[in-house]
Structures are given as C-alpha cells and as structure tokens.
Symmetry: C2
C-alpha cells in the first residue's frame, strides 16, 4: 500500500507549531499545548502568538513565517474567521499539514459550509492537507503526541481509532483506561473538509502499530471509495464501526454536530457487510471489540470453553454464547481425564467448568487454561472471576483485627507470575482468551494485571461473550473470502 | 397482600444463630459471621460450635438447644450430611427460619437431589422455612443484615433482588457500588428446596423498602403460581428479570449449577410478557433497569429531551432512542425562546441540545433541565457529560505548575447544590432524568454525587437510553392494563 497518505507525517510529526495557545490556561488552545508539552512529546514545539514573547515557558513566534526550522504540523485553534490567514502563513512557510480544531464552520449551516469550502480550496491551492475543522485533534501515545484538550495518562496499545466525534477520542479516555484499552493512534476528523474517514482508514490500515481499527461514523462522504478501501484493509486487519446516522433522530443530531448528511441504517449495514466491517451497536461494543480484535488471535471456529468458580456467570456466559452463535461443547475424554484430579469434589467435569469454592487460585489462571486450550474441540476460552485483592480488601475494611494486612504490591507479586503464564497462552495455542470480572481495576489487582498483559477483561460476563463473538465473526468474514478466492 | 411470607421475619431478624462459623477466618462460615458482626448488625448473634467457648469474641454455644433466648434465624454452613441434625436442633429449640448455604445437594445429581428432598421433608415436618441449600445468603443493608461471604460497603437503596446465583448477590457488589446502585434486600435462593423465587417475588412485592425488583432466573419451579404472583406485583412495582436457562448451553450449565430443569427461551419470554415483567438480556441491563425503575418516575410517553456538550454522545443517544422506540422531538416555541439567551453562539436550539464548549457548568445541571422538563412535548431527560474533577484532575497530574491545586472536597461543595437541584426535578415534574458520563465515580465527583442523589448515571450514552426505554416499556405495560381494565 501507498505511504503517500499525509496522516503518516502528521501522526509522526517531529515538530509541531501551535497557533491559538497562550499563557492563559483557561483557553482550549493553551490546554492542548499543555497536553503536548507536559505529556512528554520529544519533538520541537513552536507556539505562535501575536504579542507574547514566551508561551508556557517556550519561545513564542509572532507568525508561522518567523519560524526558521522546518515544521511538520501546525495545530490551529483560532476563531474561524482567522483560519484563512493562518493557512496563508502555512503556505508561505511551506508547512504541509494542519489540524484545525476551530469550530464555527459547516456545523452551523449554509453560511458556515461556505466558509468551510473556502478554507478547503485555499488549503488545496497551497498544497496543505488538514484534519477538521471542528475536530478535537490527534493522539499518538507511542510518540507522546497529544494535541487534544484531554490528557492521555495510560499506556499506548494496538487499537487505532478514527472518529467523527472528538468526545469519542478524548472524553472516553478514563473509560478506556478502566478497561486497560490503549490507543495506537486516535484521530478526530471533525467536519472532514479535507481528510476524511476513508483517508484515516487507509492510514490506520498501513500503520504497523495499529492491529485493529475502530471507526465512529455519522455519515460517509465518499461511500464507494470507503467501501473499496475498507474491503482491502479488512483483509489484513479487523475493522469495527459504529454508525449513528441511520435513524431520523440520529441523522438530525449528526447534521447539527458535524453538518453530516446521513444514509439510512440498513444501507450502511449492508455497506459494512460488503466491506467486511463488523458493525457495533454501542460505543462500548466499538471499543471492546476493537480491543479484543487487536490483542487476541482469531478462533478457527466458535467452540468456546468456559472456566469460572461461579455458577451464575457460568450460566450467563453459556447462554450468551448460544445466543450469539457460539457453542459450549463437551470436552474431549483426554481433557476430562486431565482435569479430574485437579478439581474439588463439588465441581463437575463439564463445560462450563465451575470450580465452586476452591482454595487453589492458580487453577483458574495457570493450571486449567492450558488443558482447556489444548483440547481439539475448543477454539477459545472465557474465564470469569479471577480476583485476589478486592474481596479480601473489603473484608479487611470491616475487620482489620481479623483479616491480615493486605499489601497490594505483595498480592500482585504473588499472582503476577500465574497471570503472565495465562497471558502467554493465546500466542502459544493460537486461541483467544477473554476474561470478565465484576471487580474493577481500581480495586482488583488481578483485573489491572490482566489488562496490562493485554488479556481483554470486561466488567460483565456477557461482554466477554460479545467480544468473543466479534472475533468469531471476523474469522468467518475471512473464511468466506478465502472460499470465494 | 399477605404478610405470612416467612421472608419478612428472616430479612428483619432480631437474633441470628450461626452454625458452622469458627475462629478460623479462612472458612466460609467464619467469613459470613465476620460480615454480620463487623458490618454493624444491631441484633443478637449466637455462634454455635461443638468445642470453642467463644467465636470471634462472642460467647459460643455447643448446640442450638443451649441458647436460652428466642432465635429468629439460623445460618447453617456445615457439610451436607450434618444439616439434618441441625434442622432437628432447630425444631427442638423452636427456630422457624434457616438459611442453608451448605453445598453438596441437588446440584451434584440424583443422589444429592434425594438428600435435598429429605431435608425439605424434615423442615416441613418441623415447621421450619428455609432458603437454600447451596445458596450464598441474604442481605438487608437497611438493617445491616449480611450473612453472605462478601462485605457490603456502600449505601442501601430501593432495589430488591432475588437470585438463583449467589454471585449475582455478592460478587456484583463492587459493580453495583461503582454505579451507585444500592440494595433494599437481596436473597440468594440457591437450590430452592423450600423457599423459591415466587416466595421472594411475593415478599419483595410486599416489602415497602423495595421500589423495584430484579430477578436472576435459571429455571422456574412453579411457573403458574409465579405468573399469577408476578402479574399482581408488577401492577404496583416494576419487575425486571434475566433468564439464562433458555438455550441448550444455558440449560446445561444451569443444571450443574443449581440442578435446574429449564424451559426454552421463547416460552419464558412469553410468560414474562403475560406477567408484565421486563426481560433483561444481560446482568448489566438487569441492574441498570431495576435501579432506574426504583428511582425514577415512569414517563407518560417516550418523547425524550437530550442535553449534552458533546456532539458524538448526542448523536449516539438520539440514534439509540429511535432504535429503542423512543423519540427525540422538537421543543415547543416557548422552550426555544427560554433557551435562546442562555446558549453559546456555537450551540443550536434543537433536540439534542449540544452546548459545545461552554464555561457555564450550571447550564447542564441547574439552568436548562427545568426548562426542558417543563416542555409539554417532553416526557423524560437524558444528560450526558456532567463532570468537574476528572478532566482537571488529569491536567493537574501532568501540569501541577500550571493547573491550580484541586481539592475534591472544594469541587464537590461547588457543584453539589446544582446537582441537588437537578436531583429534585424528577419528583417535581413527574418526569425521569438519567445521566451518562465516561467518567467513573472513582475519578469524577459529579458522577459520585449524582449516584448518591439517586440519579442513575451510567458509563456510556446507550446505557442511559436503554434504561429510559425500560421506564417507557413499563409505562406501556401499565397503560395496556388500564385500557383492558
């Protein structure tokens, strides 16, 4: 594939100029610069300000034209009417890439659309490619590029995102952090006056750090090209999309958000199907599925082993499997024989494996998973309820005299080796593992470690199944294509 | 309705005996006693132990027969084979209520089923009503009764739960706490050898602290009586149920969990419909819906106002509304006129109201909600994105020199009055409010306060819509009945 896509340079920029940041930390532009500067960006930063000599301690330039060194990317956060002048400065300085976060364009109606077309024409004439306007910026946590107004505090990961909503790039950051989900790249496209979702899809498809792609879509500007591009990309990388413009209310809301003109849901569903894109029905599905597809091998078929110490979640997982086209088959005789000496009397040798009350924590993490994954009848594993600190932590709160002092560091050091073994199994067996636990990563060290080791761990049993079904569905998309080829 | 239901006495017990607790905090029975004792139970507690003189600092009795005072409830956690003897002691002592958490009965197959029938016969002969066996216990946080092995650390609330899974009573406690969801009562029924889900449903229907009922069901023992009871209860109180025994895998798993014999999904769906029960498809829906139904007024119809400062979530909410049978109608002229002077230039006067970037935090909480709820075209309100500490907290982490020090207490004291106004509106207008926010209650003071004030606040936009649709559906159930009557 081509690497002429301008997003490569933009997401790897070695130098970034900022037009619209000042020394007032209450303005949006300044906050964006704070995130870049304090987030640890290793490249050069050039604030542009008409009056200040320094901005946030950095030497400031009166104009982009005054910067001597080459500038890979400029971030523009000034009012809409000033944007054309800044683009002219970019042209004069030879800057080829811009992120325009300024609002006040196509989302405000016909007049705004006209101004938007004008800046697009200006940029094209000057050879400038840009994201926006009315976007929230871009993120490359691997390179500590963050020009949005939201700090990115957790680890980078393999999920790439392109979104017509800035909130789905930034506001979701705590939501993603709680689930251990990390971005490779994230791009807020805004009104898409130049660079659109198809460009982003192409770029994320080419980007080696991105293992699966999530798209939030309100409308599709170039549906035919999008379809062609998606078809190519989804052969090599999973693509998940959430489309919200398909209902009357969704279309109306999107029109006032990004000036979108939306197609009915069933047309887009059909387009996604042709493109090999998995269609999510909620933001949670979008991120959970893309994260799982980015971190887990694709199962050969949909035969799932379920392992837990809780009967209720076992039944919920089994039932949800069947509802979503997965099966929960019997184990082979060999598997049952291997398990028999390991299980407590109250447990049974069927699938789901319900350990009931067991005092051997490693059964759930290190001992049983390899046995289940080695079974030729099994394509993937769902484990519910790995926990170590949360229950004891709660007991200690009410009975400090009876429950021994809990050091989270100590508990982590005890369970970490067995969770590392667990996390090595998907690659070893070529079969996915997904976990669920009602214990959030803020109170449960096992959840936090599993997430760190890139084992998707969600807060309810059905969410693990939903993600496993997405893996299975992507496998079938690939299979149909192989059969057709 | 009758109050002969034994659960009234059991869930309000003034004195509880424990058979199976010791001084070893690693055993299940001891942990259950720790939770009762250290959880602040105000009643009398009588540990029974064959050898120890004291258990956890309390005087211990060699046998139930040795206790002089009356005992309302006995909790039995001894091995299965000992249970008949303990029941005989109960009979001799005149104890009429037991919770049998011991496992090793019907869930293990035919032999276990026989033993289970025997203890049921013994109990009936002796006039003892019991929950279990193979259950996890009961919770009444309003009276600080907790005889499960999981500490209950957050506030009591108006949601009543009866569950065939102990995990869905106890393991979910952190999950519920993160969402601000509090139990009125929670009952784990286990194998239902005596008291079953129908008894629980009747009791929760009669219980004044319970405003909505959640049921986790693997099988139904007395479907006809369940239907009759549910029909009566659902007239006065919303009932939500999750049924997991309806698929092949779900039924198989449930059989080995609680010895359940399950009916196909469509039969149970049909029964729920006749009974006026809302059927949830996941544990999350079960709790979110029941919590919302327990705290919010039922909307007259499905016309929803959406208020946010984020275009993406606005579109997601609008789209999800239409998909779930709700509408997002235009506001009345009066509403638009009232809003006009309050909104920033970049906002529009349509529904969803998207404030875009606004520096007036009270718009979202105090100023606009009453205007929207006063609109005769509007039956309920969804607000996304109220936040105060999370974004600033993140910025302060990376830029302590630029962002003023954040005192969560101070931020809470500033936003609390306006959230209190917001929380008073549902009762004032007779219309529900549901919120969503990607900021969890661990990092966001606004989320925590909203949850405390019993405004349901969920971690994704579509979940707020799903809960609103449940309210609307319950309203239609009631309406159909009125029309029929």
């Amino acid at each position: 594939m081509s690497s002429s896509n301008p997003l490569h340079r933009m997401l790897e920029a070695d130098s970034i100029a900022f037009v619209g940041a000042s020394n007032n930390p209450a303005t949006m532009g300044t906050i964006q610069l704070i995130n870049l500067l304090k987030g640890g960006y290793p490249g050069r930063i050039y604030p542009v300000h008409p009056r200040e000599k320094t901005v946030l301690g950095l030497k400031a330039y009166a104009s982009l034209r005054d910067i001597r060194d080459p500038v890979d990317l400029v971030v523009i956060t000034v009012p809409a009417r000033v944007v054309p002048d800044i683009l002219a400065d970019c042209g004069a300085k030879g800057i080829r890439h811009a992120v325009i976060t300024s609002g006040g364009f196509g989302e405000l109606g016909q007049e705004g659309k006209k101004v938007e077309r004008e800046i697009a024409d200006t940029a094209r004439r000057l050879g400038i490619r840009f994201i926006g306007p009315n976007c929230i910026g871009i993120l490359n946590p691997h390179r500590r590029i963050n020009v949005t107004m939201f700090p990115y505090l957790h680890s980078p990961g393999p999920m790439g995102l392109a979104s017509q909503s800035g909130s789905y790039v930034t506001q979701v950051i705590p939501f993603l952090a709680e689930r251990g989900i990390g971005y490779s790249r994230a791009i807020s496209v805004g009104n898409k006056a130049d660079i659109d979702l198809t460009d982003c899809l192409e770029y994320l498809g080419e980007d080696p750090a991105t293992k699966a792609i999530a798209l939030y879509i309100e409308d599709l500007k170039r549906p035919r090209l999008f379809l062609e591009t998606a078809r190519k990309i989804s052969r090599i990388k999973p693509v998940v999309a959430l489309y919200v413009g398909g209902t009357e209310a969704g279309a109306k809301s999107s029109a006032s958000h990004t000036g979108a003109v939306c197609a009915p849901a069933r047309l887009v569903t059909d387009l996604f199907r042709q493109a090999g894109i998995l269609e999510a029905a909620s933001v949670e599905e979008l991120y959970h599925w893309a994260w799982t597809l980015a971190t887990q091998p694709i199962p050969r078929s949909g035969r799932i082993a379920v392992l837990t110490h809780s009967g209720g979640p076992a039944s919920s997982i089994a039932d949800a499997c069947n509802r979503l086209g997965l099966t929960v088959p019997d184990f082979s005789r060999e598997t049952r024989e291997s398990m028999r000496p390991l299980l407590p009397d109250t447990a049974t040798l069927v699938n789901p494996v319900d350990l009931t009350y067991s005092t051997q924590p490693n059964l759930l993490t290190e001992t049983l998973p390899p046995i289940l994954l080695a079974d030729p009848n099994i394509d993937g594993l769902i484990i519910h309820g790995i926990m170590v600190s949360s229950w004891l932590g709660g007991l200690r709160k009410i009975a400090p005299d009876l429950i021994p002092e809990l050091s989270i560091e100590h508990l982590a050091s005890v369970i970490e080796p067995s969770l590392k073994v667990l996390a090595s199994l998907p690659a070893q067996y070529g079969k996915p593992i997904i976990c669920s636990s009602f214990m959030g990563s803020t109170i449960e060290v096992a959840t936090r470690l599993l997430q760190e080791f890139h084992i998707p761990t969600f807060d309810a049993p059905e969410k693990a199944v939903s993600a496993m079904a997405a893996l299975h569905r992507y496998g079938r998309v690939q299979e149909r294509r192989r059969l057709r080829a």
